[in-house]
């Protein structure tokens, strides 16, 4: 006997198809140093991300730790204001088209009317600009479930207070009606009346996650951000939670943004997939496209590293060398070029790569005295004496240096104890649609700035 009627499967409307629209979203965190806490740089946690979430679907976001998944989720939730760009909620179809037209052009090129139109869209739909009633309505419709079921429930509140709180905040119910609604919610996540008067610490991880889900459902939202809701759980409990999430989605017509680093889970849950790397989207498409015919080498590497998928496809755990670059100083060109197994000379080799390579070889970097950068691609390295400078030049020219890097180096000259090094100047890569609704930023597919000879070279090297 539920007092909250479970909604019959809600038909996906043909109108207002896009529930969440993310455009050029950037979120930087200042790095402060010293006694005065001066800002010395920025962590670019999310760096120019655009995608849509349509009503009733699940969009999966995957990527390694620190690539900005949580930050993206928090921006969409309104917990963090974006540094630039924005998240638009519940745009009409026409508005969506207008927004795309307006954001596509550079801001200087907009006419006064166009700027005013954008401003109006921002005021009515951009999450960080919403006020009053619009804000309240957005708040009710966009909920969240966090990864850590331990820290997402207040240890000093009873379950009835935790789950009933949203209803109290919006004065939806009180007294015994409130209690019945809470019981209904608990029942819909597989808990019951007997759990009302318990504290969170009396529950297992899976049960706690159920309580979190019940709280998120209390206001009957349209959209829920699920930030790794099962990665702290065992496989068996994970399966229970995934089933529950799916049942709820079907019953209530929910839309999910499902964040996870587990590809097996993301594939199981999602209609469309967004693959992130160091704050950027590197590939996006339908689930089947991304999993069956991945375009980006990073996606391929992720697939190979996943034991569950290895089981399906007889792939053995593959190797992805190196570590995720520092998002405070992301690599030039394609951000994956520091680890890409099929990298080409046009992918954005820069001074940092040369220095890192010398460092990895242990090649006398103790004798490096300074690096004067003219740009990311051009610098003077000064050494203790001519001998080391000469040695460095030989290393950089020799077979120890990857062929692609040597190819990308368009200048390497020594004068005295200083080595001037220069790489090709490469633009940041852009996403392009390779197949219908399947985008990637890898230049092997987009062809962007790719030297025809480089593709040839890659084939020659057996890439």
């Amino acid at each position: 006997m539920k007092t909250v009627p479970a909604r019959a499967a809600r038909p996906i409307p043909v109108k207002n198809r896009n529930l969440v629209t993310v455009r050029n979203l950037r979120r930087y965190f200042p790095i402060r140093e010293g006694a005065l806490q001066r800002v010395v740089g920025h962590v670019r946690a999310v760096d120019g991300v655009s995608f849509d979430v349509r009503r009733g679907e699940t969009v999966g976001v995957v990527g390694e730790s620190g690539c900005g998944k949580t930050t993206l989720g928090r921006c969409i939730n309104g917990l963090l204001p974006p540094t630039d760009g924005g998240v638009y909620f519940d745009l009409g179809d026409d508005e969506h088209a207008r927004l795309d037209a307006l954001t596509a052009m550079p801001s200087e090129a907009r006419t006064r009317e166009q700027a005013a139109e954008l401003e109006r869209l921002d005021r009515t739909h951009r999450v960080d600009r919403l006020r009053g009633e619009a804000w309240r309505s957005y708040r009710r419709n966009c909920q969240v479930v966090f990864q850590d079921a331990f820290s997402s429930l207040n240890p000093r509140q009873l379950v009835k207070d935790i789950v009933g709180r949203p209803l109290k905040v919006y004065r939806e119910a009180s007294g015994s009606e409130l209690m019945e609604r809470v019981v209904g919610l608990l029942e819909s996540v597989g808990l019951g009346r007997q759990h009302l008067y318990r504290y969170p610490h009396q529950f297992s991880g899976g049960q706690r996650q159920r309580i979190s889900i019940a709280r998120a459902l209390a206001l009957d939202p349209d959209f829920i951000v699920l930030d790794e809701p099962t990665s702290a759980l065992d496989v068996s409990v994970q399966a229970q939670i995934l089933n529950l999430l799916n049942d709820l989605q079907r019953e209530r017509g929910l839309t999910y943004l499902f964040i996870s680093h587990d590809l097996g889970v993301v594939r199981h849950m999602s209609d469309r997939i967004v693959v992130m790397y160091v704050g950027e989207i590197v590939e996006a498409g339908t689930r089947d496209d991304v999993f069956n015919s991945p375009l980006h080498p990073y996606t391929e590497a992720l697939l190979e590293a996943s034991p569950e998928l290895a089981h399906d496809t007889d792939r053995r755990a593959g190797a992805l060398e190196g570590r995720v670059p520092d998002p405070a100083r992301p690599p030039q060109g394609c951000r994956f070029h520091t680890r890409c197994p099929v990298v080409t000379p046009s992918c954005g080799f820069e001074v940092d790569d040369a220095v890192r390579m010398l460092e990895g070889r242990g090649a006398g970097l103790d004798h490096l005295r300074g690096v004067q950068r003219r740009s990311a691609f051009e610098a003077d390295l000064s050494f203790d004496d001519e001998e080391f400078a000469g040695l460095m030049v030989r290393v950089l020219e020799g077979p120890e240096t990857p062929a692609e890097m040597r190819e990308a180096m368009i200048g390497l000259t020594r004068s005295g104890s200083t080595v001037a090094i220069r790489f090709r100047d490469i633009d940041r890569v852009r996403l392009e649609e390779i197949r219908p609704a399947h985008v990637t930023s890898c230049i092997l597919h987009t062809g962007q700035g790719l030297d025809p000879g480089d593709r040839h070279m890659r084939e020659k090297n057996g890439g």
Binding site: V235, H261, H268, A310, A319
Partner: protein, 450 residues
Amino acid sequence: MTDPARTLGEEVGGLDAAADRRAPLASVQDLRIQFRTKAGRVHAVDGVSFDIRDGEALGLVGETGCGKTVTARSFLRLVPSPPGIYAGGRVQFRPRKRCEVCGGAGCGACGGAGRVPTACPRCRGTGCSECNLSGEETVDLLRVPERRLREIRGNRIAMIFQDPGKALNPALPVKQQIAEVLHVHRSEELLRRAGIDSDAGVLMPLLRRMAEQRSRRAERVLLGLPPGRRHSRRLGAAVAEWVAESLAETRIANPRKVMNSFPHELSGGMKQRVMIAQALACDPDLLIADEPTTALDVTIQARILELIRELQDRHRSSVLYISHDLALVNQVSDRVAVMYAGRIVESGPSQAVFRDPRHPYTRGLLAAIPTATDERGRLMAIEGTVPELVDPQPACRFHARCPYAAPACRTIDPPLRAHRDDRPVACFLYESAEEVGADRSSMPTWAGRR
């Protein structure tokens, strides 16, 4: 009571006994560990038996709280007690040494293992009651004196933990933490590597103490002065050399730089590599890895798994690999034991268990992993959670969650034994009513699925 370890090992572990005639490296026999709590006695490990043979990787799989960590910790007697109690059973360990014929590469003399048993110190290899007439040194890790245990810990048996961040000391540079095990267990070899055995003369005792890291301040000052300085510097260089070597083995980039950094300066994957380097520095016979990749990213996880496999091959050591992910264990281990609520419910070669799971729990674990063919939202989840193990009654521990559970399951303990082939499983679905001594109608059947 002297039950010959050899036959017992085969009977209890029951696993592929013909392959290796030699007594296994370690055998756990009917291990019972309990915790005293407010609610009563938690039977965290309740009659677990298995063998770990030379050079093999054994996987131990099960959900959170089923007793994997407690089992692993009992190898080094690291279960916190109180509240823990070693309530019964044995953990027998037979230390090895490098085969002198082949120098560890594997030959006929050592049966390809590269390691040979050490002789029983009591009978010098002729066989006595202490070693069950095997002539091999056999230590019961639960009863051996603390002193001997310290010689084994970190030296013959090493352990890596789930959270590398917590296992490393944040206040010490990486080098010192790895050097520590060398100072404790390998001081002789350190001296030899530093080339200090002949020419040091009267300084020798001091240097020895230094290699054991037991020097007092005054001794260190003395060794810092000219006659001793040369030797102490060489010793320091030998330590650094060795540490760098073991770090390099984990293929960490730039070992010399990593060596001098503090744990907080390293990423999770690097910290886990440091842990591995520390664990393997003394070339242990057994490496226990307790969910070493659970805290790491998928990509790094793949690298660490590969590394453990590779190092195991190279060092020819045995590995006890613990995880809750059967797919992952399948990748790294030769054999697997599935644990549920303090007991082993199934064991066998990993491939076989993975392809053809027998126990309903193992089936459930595998079915719960999302695959390409699962319809969305229709994963086969095992409903419920691991039961509280407070003063358990005889019954199949899995009965409350098992789709086949029948009356017999609720009143009798299913024994772990092999049936059609040599793969043991503890479930009445594989037993006949006569064997169990129960009523036929009370037995579970495959048809009786709820």
